[in-house]
């Protein structure tokens, strides 16, 4: 079977985000961009499934501007067989991303579509669930462990341990299905220099967003960006006794 992997490029998680003073956005000029950490985990899991013989082909998918190819090359260097680049200069919201992914599913017929549980820029945590709804297939969100058993082709089932507020939930779903990854699913491999060379000859399919016939909705408009309220710097205490005294005074102990 084939596995499609959502592979989004975001501002690196180590960057300290600055909100522009006029409230029109956040500063992204000259800021380091990286793969969404959850998407590296999604790709790693897909590669391991291929290495186990569960999947034959792993395809990374990105929706974004022309220069996204460099990012997709990283996914190829990590080990994906090929990439699909849906080209648009507009920011796409999760529902639109899900509609785009559904178009790619119609063409590729994957057994699994693995995405991150959330993109660390919009922190939406929606795309996988929306895709599963549109596709009318199972979803297993916040996956911490995945076991796939294949009957034939893209049929079979997946058992997923999900990290939920109450603990760990295990569910079973028929393939094809959508999985969203949590952080403890695996540790992504590092890209090695020879892999970067090899990735240069792997194919990237470019598809114009407009050619897919996806309706880009505009239900949500962001009208203002603001920096979060700052906590003011507190006091230092010298020892345990003083800490207890201060907390008692505040009525907290």
């Amino acid at each position: 079977m084939k596995i499609l992997v959502g592979y989004k490029r975001v501002v690196d998680y180590n960057v300290r985000i600055q909100v522009k003073s006029d409230g029109s956005g956040v500063v992204t000029d000259g800021v380091k961009l990286s793969a969404n950490p959850f998407d590296d985990i999604a790709l790693e899991e897909a590669l391991r499934l291929r290495e186990k013989g569960v999947a034959e082909e792993v395809i990374v998918v990105g929706i974004g501007p022309a220069d996204l190819t460099a990012h997709l090359r990283n996914g190829l260097a990590m080990g994906a067989n090929r990439a699909i680049h849906v080209v648009t200069t507009d920011a796409v919201q999760p529902l639109t991303a899900a509609r785009v992914f559904l178009k790619l599913i119609e063409k590729e017929q994957p057994g699994l579509f693995i995405v991150g549980k959330q993109a660390i820029d919009d922190d939406a945590n929606q795309t996988g669930q929306m895709l599963a709804a549109l596709w009318d297939r199972p979803q297993a969100t916040f996956a911490g462990k995945i076991d796939v058993s294949i009957e034939s082709g893209a049929t079979g089932k997946v058992t997923v341990t999900r990290e939920v507020d109450a603990g760990l939930e295990v569910i079973e779903a028929e393939l094809p299905a959508v999985i969203t990854t949590d952080l403890r699913l695996n540790e992504p491999r590092f890209i090695k220099l020879p892999d970067i060379m090899k990735a240069k000859s792997k194919p990237i399919d470019s598809i114009e967003f407009a050619s897919l016939g996806v309706e880009a909705h505009d239900h949500l408009k962001t009208t203002h960006y603001a920096a979060p309220a700052k906590r003011s710097k507190g006091v230092m205490v010298k020892d345990a006794a003083e800490l207890v005294a201060v907390l008692k005074q505040k009525g907290l102990l």
Partner: protein, 314 residues
Amino acid sequence: MSKILVIAEHLDGKLNPSTARAVSAAIAVKPEAIDVLVLGDSVDAIAADAAMIEGVSRVLTVARAENAHPLAAVLAPQIAKAADGYSHVFAPSTTFGKDVAPRVAALLGVAQVSDVMSVEASHTFKRPIYAGNAIITVEANADHAVVATIRTASWPAANSGSNSAPIEALTLDVTLPTHTRFIELKQGSSDRPDLQSAGKVVSGGRGVGSKENFEIIYKFADKIGAAVGASRAAVDAGYVPNEMQVGQTGKIIAPALYMAIGISGAIQHLTGIKDAGTIVAINKDGEAPIFEIADIGLVGDLFKIIPELEQTLG
């Protein structure tokens, strides 16, 4: 005028307090009605609890064997059907709400507003992005239903007790998928207060050093009646189970007192505690970033300080 459907979260026959927090956000919209939808296999006790929450107009129940466990693929088509005639559908921004709400939104063909922190107007909300490092104002198109998850740490639970809203059973004509099955839920059993609603939380990080050492955190928490949390590093190292993680990808909490012990204060951890009343940091490194946001800081070795704290408390 607005009409809001709030999706109840429950487990083991009990209503989760996050539901009353979502009701608070619904009240802020100043709607004409707030109905709570309870989907379960046996719903009576849960519905009775929901009916007591102030501001609730009606409690609607759907009792079906298929609803015994919260599978998004099974619940979403029922919620989407029940949402007919409502201007807003709210769910708490817990793993339950985050799982099911986007599936509902997609079935309704609408976008979702995730993690609502404040309601500015019936279709205007504030929400965090970039791990809470920016707060955006979003306007939803009033021609469509608004599906939103409510950031529970931003909202107090609506009062409960004085209300007795009518409870009505709904019959929804929807075929439910059978492609997804619940196998089991492995719950941490603990007599300690619930991390998400506790007034006091003591969290340990990598500095605690091992699973065995974590006993010192549990013991101290029990002494002051606190829930116990952890950093991701502590969970990853296997000191504690995943449901104890606090932060961007764990639980977002707002206790009156938060004590971070042996936690450096990475931005992803701080995201989870921004709304805490008083933050106390205990760390042996005086330069640790946690001290930049702590209300009260104490530099020192946790293995020396915690016994001293216990001694002082008597």
